[in-house]
């Protein structure tokens, strides 16, 4: 007989878990006691939210299921933002929470919260385990659900008496089968043939590539498909990295802060092939004027995404990797779409992203300097806001899973803890967290986790003493009324030093490269406080609800 806690730890290891991010508390004491002499690595964070983001970062960078652990009540509730972040971006994660003993469930016991009820809308599935004998099967199912189909977070709530309760080993099936869960992986052949017919007729095709390509490791297939048929590719925020930035077919990001040429191409294309993307409002702008001349092919593993926001001509439900492979086997080399590509090339030449150079310290310059310095040998994590958009626009990403950011939920405070998780997935490369002074302060306590574990995350704070993105909206749409968006100056280097982390303040463009180099030369974590031009904006920009070719801050028509 074994305790539920022991079975839990063994089950996690059976699923291949190497590391969990967590924070102890009353009802998870039996689990922590089991971890005390387990080979499973545990990283103690400083706030449970960070445990969830770290597990998420680990999952995004590795493609494997991330695991976090918290106690009941406040511990579990603190995971919520992290779970919602993972849910919105389809990140495979298993969140473990302690719960009050079963005889106290529903009694408003100390540190009780109905975490399965609370997380129902933000998990792919969740469980309240009622006996030690259910633990191993539940963990097996949870990993299966989290990591297959459209990935997502799964929560397992474990009452204290389940952790201490005893059970014999339960024989588990080789393969999980759930009668209510059967994702479709292979695309429908007729639909794929229809898609290829549309492609053959198209003169101005465009691939709109989303995070689904990264999730299903389908970049090689995407590249082969795009090159075989000479189709330009624009990526969503989540799709960045699926095609190398310098590739001639790459148009960069589309949408609210997309490139002008990507948004022009969307507006003029006659065929849009959406792959692993979901027509989010930040991408489409006004939905009726999104790709107005295009027939739409939509490939996605989640049938609920097809036709949700935009009418689709050819839906293909399936794993994008499998579907692209099948499409490649069915298709022949296509026309080169020369006139279309020439037009796009012209747009690219005349509407490049702007990088101001007037002697002041501009964030775009910092990102480009970092990009030139580390090239493809780094993973870049961001917070949310201007820092995120500048990085998405100006950093040159070469590979999938090297750009880690909170897209759907837009969670400030995501970056620093996610970067910790990324480090454990990719210890071979430096990990940078690109932050603003607002978002870094949302989880700045994690400097403690960086320091005590010597996690070598390099923190780039683009410090403008504003909540920059909100200030930008106030400037543009609220008549410069900066309501509660100014932040008093903070000496981030001193904060870092207080935690025992090295840091550097940078105030002039000449000092950017030396500071970034110093961060790479430092073996441990490093914090850089860049005092940037305070009222720098992210341009181009599509105002909320406008058509995506109606950008402000772009170039005059050519």
């Amino acid at each position: 007989m074994k305790t539920g806690a022991k079975i839990l730890v063994e089950s996690l290891q059976r699923e291949g878990t190497e590391i969990i991010f967590g924070y102890p508390g009353g009802v998870v004491l039996p689990i922590y006691d089991e971890l005390y002499d387990s080979s499973l690595r545990h990283i103690l964070v400083r706030h449970e939210q960070a445990a969830a983001h770290a597990a998420d970062g680990y999952a995004r960078a590795s493609g494997r299921v991330g695991v976090c652990l918290a106690t009941s009540g406040p511990g579990a509730c603190n995971l919520v933002t992290g779970i919602a972040t993972a849910y919105m971006d389809s990140v495979p994660m298993v969140a473990l929470t302690g719960q009050v003993p079963t005889n106290l469930l529903g009694n408003d016991a100390f540190q009780e919260s109905d975490i399965t009820g609370i997380t129902m809308p933000i998990t792919k599935h969740n469980y309240l385990v009622k006996s030690a004998g259910e633990v191993s099967r539940t963990v097996q199912e949870a990993f299966y659900i989290a990591g297959t189909g459209r990935p997502g977070p799964v929560l397992i709530d474990i009452p204290k008496d389940v952790s201490t309760g005893l059970s014999a080993d339960v024989k588990l099936p080789e393969k999980v089968t759930l009668r209510g869960y059967n994702p479709t992986y292979k695309g429908h052949k007729r639909q794929m043939e229809k898609a290829l017919q549309l492609l053959a007729q198209s003169e101005r095709p465009l691939i709109y590539a989303g995070g689904g390509i990264i999730a299903s490791n389908a970049s090689p297939e995407l590249m082969e498909f795009a090159m075989l048929a000479s189709i330009p590719v624009t990526t969503t925020l989540m799709g960045i990295g699926c095609i190398p930035c310098h590739h001639p077919l790459n148009l960069g990001m589309l949408g609210m802060h997309g490139t002008e040429y990507a948004n022009f191409a969307v507006t003029e294309c006659d065929l849009m092939i959406a792959i692993g993307a979901r027509f989010d409002d930040r991408v489409t702008g006004k939905i009726d004027t999104f790709a107005p001349h295009a027939k739409i092919i939509h490939i996605d593993i989640d049938p609920a995404e097809i036709g949700k926001n935009k009418r689709v001509d050819v839906p293909i439900v399936g794993d994008v990797k499998a579907v692209l492979r099948d499409l490649l086997s069915l298709m022949k080399k296509q026309g080169a779409h020369e006139a279309w590509r020439k037009k796009i090339k012209h747009w690219k030449q005349h509407h490049p992203l702007k990088c101001p150079t007037n002697g002041a310290l501009h964030p775009q310059f910092i990102i480009r300097t970092l990009s030139d310095l580390v090239k493809e040998k780094a993973v870049i994590v961001s917070e949310v806001g201007q820092n995120q958009m500048w990085t998405a626009q100006h950093f040159c990403f070469h590979n999938p899973r090297t750009w880690i950011t909170s897209g759907g939920l837009g969670t400030m405070g995501y970056g620093l803890p996610a970067a910790m998780g990324v480090h454990f997935a990719r210890p071979d490369v430096p990990v940078f967290d690109i932050a603003g002074d607002g978002s870094i302060q949302m989880n700045i306590q994690e400097f403690g986790t960086l320091a005590s574990n010597q996690i070598p995350v390099k923190v780039v704070i683009l410090n403008n003493m504003y909540l920059g993105m909100v200030r930008q909206w106030q400037e543009l749409f609220y008549d410069h009324r900066y309501s509660f968006t100014e932040l008093p100056p903070v000496d981030f280097v001193k904060i870092a030093n207080a935690y025992g982390i090295e840091g550097m303040r940078v105030e002039s463009p000449d000092d950017v490269l030396p500071a970034l180099q110093a961060s790479l030369d430092c073996n441990g974590p490093f914090v850089m406080d860049f005092r940037i031009e305070r009222e720098e904006n992210v341009f181009p920009m599509v105002p909320a609800g406008a058509a995506i070719n109606e950008m402000i801050g772009g170039h005059p028509p050519s």
Binding site: G117, G180, A304, G307
Partner: protein, 167 residues
Amino acid sequence: MKPHTLSILVENKAGVLSRVTGLFSRRGFNIESLAVGPCEEPDMSRITIVVIGDDAQVEQVMKQLNKLIDVIKVSDLTDSERVERELALIKVTAELGTSRAEIMQIASIFRASIVDVGAKTLILQVIGDTDKIDALEKLLRQYGIKEFVRTGTVGILRGSKTVTSGK
């Protein structure tokens, strides 16, 4: 916008009903009626939900329902030949020597049965589709309805077609 009758086969487990209904409210759908109970498979339950929406909205809610791990099958019965029934219990004011006879006459036209006779009230039990029950309620209103209890609609396809797990 029209009423759609959805037949949903689910795992018979704690919390499943709240997963299903939570999804409706989260996505902005109003449930017109709901009925849940055991079905031909001992470890499953069947939920019948009537929801009002256009075809695209209902399609989206069905797709979202299908994503729930505990949902085994979802069918929209609306455009198929089907039988739909509700049951209602109506407590009507009927003092002795007044309108009792009239009420009992109405009951028999509607094939409603009198399931309780009190000094001042009668309880009618009626089974039928939504329109029939609405019609009876309207007729009885003039006598004074003291209480009106109504189940959700349950529905089943006519003929040999079924909504089952397909095992």
